[in-house]
Point group: C2
Chain length 141, copies 2
């Protein structure tokens, strides 16, 4: 539901890095193995996150990826945003000019739901999700 597989991988990777990266950069190979995700494709995805200022990358031995900010400063929207389709429209039926001024038939009802979802991504941080770990353990993100 709702996130393409690239964005899903990005989120899982960031959670993995946040969890495992306490003592230095995490290598793509480790992340790829853990997520069972194709290495080079993941590399491209993580590089996009680095460009977006979510991660920092370093090459060579001791290289890898780290969070660019502490987990409690990292909202999910920042992780997922770079992989949202360009014209991520807010209109349920895809009308380009839909808005409060020219609402489509679904606009008002849907806007409330969309706001809740947007809030989730904007308010929830990586740290929030990591906290879940103590409550109910789970092997991989």
């Amino acid at each position: 539901m709702w996130l393409n597989s690239t964005a899903q991988n990005a989120l899982r990777a960031v959670l993995y890095i946040a969890d495992q990266g306490a003592h230095g950069p995490v290598r793509v190979d480790d992340i790829a193995a853990s997520l069972r995700s194709p290495r080079n494709y993941l590399s491209k995805t993580l590089h996009a996150l680095a460009r977006a200022g979510v991660l920092r990358s370093a090459r060579g031995p001791k290289g890898g990826f780290q969070l660019a900010d502490p987990p409690d400063r990292l909202a999910l929207s920042r992780v997922v945003g770079p992989f949202a389709p360009a014209g991520e429209r807010r209109c349920l039926v895809g009308r380009a000019d839909c808005g409060n001024a020219h609402p489509c038939l679904a606009h008002h009802r849907w806007a409330r739901v969309a706001a809740i979802v947007e809030d989730f991504f904007g308010q929830t941080t990586v740290a929030d999700l990591l906290k879940q770990t103590t409550e109910s353990r789970s092997h991989s993100p």
Copy 2:
């Protein structure tokens, strides 16, 4: 956001049919012209809705598409469901085995949001959206 273009077209088409179909079937050509949607592709989409029991189709002169049920019996989930990707998983990060028993890190927080969205599609009917028309007029759905 959240509906692929086929599902968006399906919903717009159903709203159009509900609005225009008071006196008999509505022709694909009319719908396609109104939605600016490719005729044959729309035909295929509407046929899928007919198979799903949302619409009834008739060929030949005086043919076209009609709602199979009154608009207040037609939840949006029925319109949109046939075009949701097969494995419409509920897990935010796409883990197949995610659930209350084996939650992913995001599961509990996300489940509440997902339930709200699902509620929207399950509870909102085509009639609900048509009622909007009187409050704030809009040319096309």
